[in-house]
């Protein structure tokens, strides 16, 4: 490819893995947005998806399992001039890390949160996750999963996310569009990507037969009600695209501390007298 956004690290994903599409779409989106590599930070979780950091030539931090959102939040608030993009797996985001999602959404920190949703724990060799379909046999559910899967889009919507989208790793053109829009969006942009895992759960043909682009319908993504209805659609036809997008003041915009410049650029000139007044 030879993009400035690509490193020369050897890629270790399984050939055919849906992660390649996500990587390529991200690179293309960065190119289109023409962001300086130094001004972008990827925050990735633990899992196959987490490797993406190594392949993208921007700043990055590979965090611990499930903690993409709080780390990304700390970065963004500390330096709101950076473009901060989180990458998490479905295990990372919806199992161990689920407790952070509704809060990031209602806080509306200006982050892009991309979920590599392969409906399986990839890196730990194929166990059930919160998005694995009911009945499916995995290494930890050899007699079939008995839990109803989560609907992550609904969850993000009711939590107050201001940009909610679904992509499919089999439709990279569309994915580039979603990433570009998500990164441009001011506020918390949630993008769930249906990502086939060719080794443990190959869903390419399943999804290819079913997905359709919302952008090719007359769907209106500014209505919360419609977004909820659309997000409930899952079966013979599966919508991909932007389900919801509104502008709401971000967390950082409400922080008076950041009015002048990013925290990281503020000089340390401490006047302790104000503090001492309270204590006297």
């Amino acid at each position: 490819m030879g993009s400035i956004y690509l490193t020369n690290k050897k890629n270790v994903w399984c050939p055919g893995c849906g992660n390649f599409a996500i990587l390529n779409a991200l690179i293309k989106a960065l190119e289109r947005l023409n962001l300086k590599p130094e001004s972008v930070v990827l925050v990735s979780g633990i899992g196959c998806h987490g490797r993406i950091n190594q392949y993208v030539n921007v700043n990055s931090i590979h965090v611990i399992h499930g903690r993409v959102l709080p780390v990304a939040t700390g970065i963004k608030i500390s330096n709101n001039r950076l473009t901060v993009i989180g990458h998490a797996g479905d295990g990372d985001a919806y199992a161990i890390g689920l407790g952070h999602l509704p809060h990031a959404a209602r806080r509306n920190v200006d982050l892009t949160y991309i979920i590599h949703n392969n409906m399986i724990f990839g890196l730990t060799t194929g166990q059930v996750t919160p998005t694995t379909p009911k009945g499916m046999r995995t290494r930890s559910t050899p007699y079939g999963n008995i839990e109803n899967p989560l609907n992550p889009l609904l969850l993000a919507l009711v939590s107050g996310a201001t940009f909610v989208a679904r992509g499919f790793a089999g439709d990279i053109k569309h994915l580039i569009y979603l990433f570009e829009e998500g990164i441009k969006h001011k506020g918390f942009a949630f993008i769930d990507v249906l990502q086939p895992c060719v080794t443990f759960y190959n869903t390419y043909s399943y999804f290819r037969e079913r997905v359709y682009r919302l952008e090719e319908t007359d769907y209106d993504y500014t209505s919360f009600k419609k977004a909820i209805a659309k997000a409930t659609e899952w079966g013979e036809r599966i919508p991909i695209g932007i389900f919801y997008k509104i502008r709401r003041e971000t967390f950082e915009e409400q922080l008076f501390q950041l009015k002048d410049k990013p925290l990281v650029q503020q000089e340390i000139r401490i006047n302790l007298e104000k503090v001492y007044k309270i204590l006297s």
Partner: protein, 576 residues
């Protein structure tokens, strides 16, 4: 009764919701502004209303380090209070300020100053909670103190109308006592050595917050947990004046990961919690260590295990914080013993964290955190140091490598956004660029690189008071202790006087452990003349002495009921 250098102890007792702590603070500041030295502390249980709680104030013309068991003046806000504290009162000499209706048979042996508090409240149309103002006024009258100082403190603390309401009530109490109990009036000296305006009244938690602020703290995230919460409250209040971001996120997991993000982005960040919250931070502590991200974590101990006794004190988490998180990595653990140390340690902990790119833990406890001292204003002892940080442009010839292996183990630390540098941090074992590695030789070098910082630290330690020694230069006995127990021990030694030849060794740096210094001090006496005092059951500092010095201290005073030892208990132990 009251002479120079002696201590006088006041105690305000009542129910949760009676405004005990607020009035205790007012009274403490009143004495402080009169030039006295003040030490205040409290005891309460973890409920919001009802249940006995108390606030005690010990004053003197010389510095006070701890509270006393004996109570000279008791403000009893209900009938039970004097009964609860009866053992702490001295027949004949102790005074009890109490509502007329709450007098009882059982307290006739003491000097009773009874007032019609409820009647006064009614007259003034004041809320029940305000009767403590009447009592404060009465007390100030009783000890012949300058009521105008009390007035000033009210004015400083509250909005004008509230202050005035309280002042008028206080004056009624004051006048009542002057009128009705002239024969009882006792004079408390005013100290003249100290300019009144220069002092502050400060808790251990506040001192830590101030140290952090002075050191450039810009991002604070914490989930409330007693007894660490007042750091959050104090910083939240100050955020506007100091332009720092203060966030209460959804959990301690979020808090620590947020401050890791902030530090990675180049901002000095901190969190504080107690043991339960620190448990949840354990995993991220190792993440910070592996990714070499500088964070400061304050752990304020309370009795465990588990929820334990949230509002009491303990030193039960020492080994836990020393060994928390999987794998091996250098960390720094510092245990302040009073507000000055709390300030200084909080201040320089950021320097250490940033210069050496590792996690620093400040290990405090409830007794330090929530007790109040009259202090001189704190002054940062040396400038802010950042070490090898790159904040604007990377000018190196080769590609920037976040984990470059350098002679001293510390790599140049560019932050995201720096020109010409792509920064890649990783929780995996990694190569110099931050990519995962499994190569045995490289892994060895990376582990060694991180541990090399320990060598640097051994040198850096020499700059700080990693231990302190008090008392006789040629002691016959040495007490070893740490943290907030410093106060009661110093009091006890003072009471015993010089000719007892007792030394006191306070260990401040728990990790790296100042082995040689400790050894050196302890070599002044025989093994049987060493004593250990801790607020825990198993002797955790003693376990360090075993490990590092092969010394098992036999004489131990271990208190684990959630209360700090009183000086008199220490004296009993020393003499027993």
């Amino acid at each position: 009764m009251i002479v120079k250098n002696r201590r006088v102890t006041f105690l305000i007792g009542g129910e949760a919701g009676d405004g005990i702590f607020a009035s205790g603070n007012i009274l403490s500041k009143t004495f402080m502004h009169g030039g006295l030295h003040v030490f205040s502390t409290n005891e309460y249980i973890s409920i919001i209303r009802g249940g006995h709680q108390w606030y005690s104030i010990t004053v003197s013309e010389s510095p006070v380090f701890s509270n006393r068991y004996k109570i000279d003046f008791l403000i009893a806000l209900n009938r039970e209070v004097p009964i609860i504290h009866i053992d702490r009162l001295e027949k004949k000499t102790s005074f009890i300020i109490i509502d007329e209706r709450d007098k009882s048979e059982r307290i006739v042996d003491f000097n009773i100053i009874s007032l019609p508090m409820y009647d006064i409240l009614k007259k003034r149309n004041a809320k029940k909670v305000m009767r403590n103002s009447i009592a404060l006024g009465a007390l100030v009258g009783l000890v012949k103190y300058d009521i105008s100082i009390l007035e000033r403190v009210y004015m400083n603390t509250y909005s004008e109308d509230i202050a005035e309401k309280n002042i008028s009530l206080a004056k009624m109490g004051y006048n009542y006592v002057l009128e009705k109990y002239p024969h009882y009036l006792k004079k408390i000296f005013f100290s003249s050595n100290i300019s009144r305006s220069q002092r502050i009244f400060c808790t251990g938690n506040e001192a830590i917050a101030i140290g952090a602020i002075a050191s450039g703290l810009k991002f604070y995230a914490a989930y409330p947990m007693t007894p660490a919460s007042s750091i959050l409250h104090f910083l939240a209040l100050l955020q506007k004046d100091l332009n720092i971001v203060v966030i209460q996120p959804e959990s301690e997991l979020a808090a620590i990961n947020m401050i890791i993000g902030a530090a990675f982005a180049g901002v000095r960040s901190m969190t504080a919690t107690s043991g339960g919250g620190f448990s949840l931070m354990t995993e991220a502590l190792g993440f910070a260590a592996m990714a070499e991200i500088p964070v400061v974590i304050v752990v304020v101990q309370r009795p465990g295990p588990s929820t334990g006794m949230p509002t009491y004190t303990s030193q039960g988490d020492l080994r836990f914080v020393l060994h928390a998180s999987q794998g091996e990595f250098p960390r720094i653990v510092l245990a302040p013993g009073d507000p000055y140390e709390a300030f200084e340690i909080a201040y320089y902990s950021f320097n250490l964290a940033w210069k050496y790119q590792l996690p620093v833990i400040i290990l405090s406890d409830k007794f330090l955190a929530e007790s109040g001292w009259s202090c001189d204003k704190f002054i940062p002892p040396f400038p802010i140091e950042e070490g090898k940080i790159i904040r604007d442009v990377y000018n190196g010839r080769e590609k920037y490598k976040r984990y470059k292996i350098t002679e001293d183990g510390v790599s140049p630390f560019a932050i995201p956004g720096v020109q010409n540098a792509i920064v890649k941090a990783n929780s995996n074992e990694h190569d110099e660029e931050g990519s995962p590695t499994y190569d045995p030789a490289l892994v060895n070098s990376m582990v060694d690189k991180r541990f090399k910082k320990q060598e640097l630290l051994k040198r850096e330690m020499l700059r700080y008071k990693t231990i302190k020694y008090y008392g006789d230069e040629y002691p016959e006995k040495i007490i070893v202790s740490w943290g907030s127990l410093k106060g009661p021990i110093l009091e006890a030694i003072n009471i015993l006087g010089k000719n007892k030849k007792i030394g006191f060794l306070q260990v401040i740096w728990m990790e790296p452990f100042p082995r040689d210094l400790v050894k050196n001090i302890l070599s002044k006496v025989g093994e049987n003349d060493i004593m250990i005092i801790e607020n825990n059951r198993t002797g955790l500092l003693n376990s360090l002495l075993n490990e590092y010095l092969h010394l098992d201290v036999k004489k131990k005073f271990l208190k684990y009921d959630g209360r700090p030892p009183y000086p008199y208990e220490i004296i009993k132990f020393l003499e027993g």
